[in-house]
């Protein structure tokens, strides 16, 4: 099975990052993670015994219905929330809080409205010398297609542009991981589709490890190396599905549709009337 997978990966089209080797140590390792919140005097278990690993350069989607705790899981991994039990290791070290090496991308609401496009992208790199900062800002303005809008404030941008701006702000600090929390969820279908394509392009050129939380099956099959399917009450991992398709993915190919059906089945949505 493994050798077969490896053979299939050989014909993966550029610009796809080389597949992460299973032999190297995990970039991210979540072990025995449980989160409970006090609710009305009792403790509600939001996440129960979560175990999974993510390797350097992977794009992993956390997929599940709302209320399954996938955003909570991402918040724990991001260091914004302490787990009740278990731990999160990145490069072997436990996560103790938010860290500029790993940037969280919210829905487009996370951009700072009081700063221009340039100001936002340069936000995390104030410590750099002015000239280097200017070059980096210009580089990412170009990369996310915001040229001509450098002096614009977020209120003057469309939802898709704000989302790209937030991704650019995250990339500008040179993080090695990105966490995207339903980042494209508030956008229209076509914008979302384009942004996924752009994200894949950025992933291929910047070689980041990306965790992407979504409730959208198509999103997960289009983007992920692996999909971690979660179930609700209590939030837990139901199954991990490897998506062994070359990029860019043909969303009407038979294999794509098979993966899609498989995930529909996992979420209990297949063949419903």
């Amino acid at each position: 099975m493994r050798s077969q997978n490896a053979a299939k990966r050989l014909d993966v089209a550029a610009p796809t990052p080389s597949p992460p080797s299973q032999a190297q140590p995990a970039k991210l390792s979540v072990a025995g993670l449980t989160v409970t919140f006090p609710v009305d005097g009792t403790h509600r278990t939001v996440l129960e015994a979560i175990d999974f690993e993510c390797h350097e350069g992977e794009l992993v989607c956390l997929l599940g219905p709302s209320g399954c705790g996938k955003s909570t899981l991402l918040n724990v991994i991001g260091g914004f929330l302490k787990p009740t039990q278990g731990q999160v290791l990145i490069d072997g070290a436990p996560v103790t809080g938010p860290d500029p090496r790993r940037i969280f991308v919210f829905q487009e609401r996370g951009v700072f409205p009081w700063l221009t496009v340039e100001g936002n992208i340069g936000f995390g790199i104030q410590h750099l010398p002015a000239e280097e900062r200017r070059q980096r800002v210009a580089h990412y303005v170009e990369m996310v297609g915001l040229r001509g809008f450098e002096r614009a404030y977020p209120a003057e941008l469309s939802g898709g542009m704000k989302q790209r701006l937030e991704v650019a702000r995250a990339l500008a600090v040179g993080p090695d991981m990105l966490y995207l929390d339903e980042s494209f969820g508030a956008l229209d279908y076509i914008t979302r589709h384009n942004l996924r394509r752009e994200l894949l392009h950025l992933w291929a050129t910047e070689r980041k490890t990306i965790l992407f939380v979504t409730h959208d099956i198509d999103e997960s099959v289009q983007l992920a190396n692996r999909v971690v399917v979660m179930a609700a009450r209590p939030g837990r991992i139901q199954r991990v599905v490897d998506i062994d398709l070359p990029y860019p993915r043909d969303i009407s190919s038979a294999r794509y549709l098979r993966y899609r059906d498989e995930l529909l089945e996992e979420l209990g949505l297949a063949h419903q009337r």
């Binding site: 914004f80 938010p98 860290d99 500029p100 919210f106 609401r109 996370g110 009081w114 209120a155 941008l157």
Partner: protein, 258 residues
Amino acid sequence: MGASRKTLETLLLPALTGGVLLAVWHAAVVLTKTHIFPSPWQVLLGIQELADQGRLVPYVLDSLNRVLTGYLLAVAVGLPGGLVLGLHAPAAHVAAPVIQLLRPISPLAWIPVSIILFGIANTATIFLIFLASLFPITLATMDAVRNVPAIYLRSGQNFGLGRYALLRRIILPAALPHALTGLRLSFGIAWLVVVAAEMIGVDSGLGYLIIDARNAGKRYDLVVAGILLVGGIGLSLDLLMRWLERARALRWAYQRDP
């Protein structure tokens, strides 16, 4: 077409309203044959008389001076105070009952207290203006800080900002537009209070002019002149504050989504 229409709506229409009001005022005075209430023209002559006596400009300046002194003192105390209360929930819990109790009290109720503290003097007037603006400034600043969206704070922490940098680079800019609106509204209150406060304890200023003109010879032309001056200057001050609010650093807060 669009531009000329805008001029029509923003300049001509208010001018028209003003003209109609003056005409109605004048007609009412003529038709009722009143000898007590002045016509617009008599008021204008009254203002001229004040200017000739050398009272007009000094009175306006005295009033402005008192407002600015009291108001700026309130800003100096209220802005940092509101900031601390907004940042530090326990401090707000301690201060909240006191503020909630003092806030609904009309500043004029403090007149006897200010006289005990400062005597019949300029200081008493300034103290009243200070008190009147202090609570709205403090509360508006506190609310502005509290209402900074959590998502900005988390983003800031994610980019590695410490407590001080978070304050300077996230909380202050995000809270500024709200806080400035609070500052503008409190300035309006300060201007309301100066007129009342000048009716006791001082012998200059527009409030003094109004009460003195009535008490010394029932000069209602001067009373109305004083009232109109108060209104006109108050309007100018509000326009000035609105203009400051729209300064470049704050432009972002007032733009509509495309």
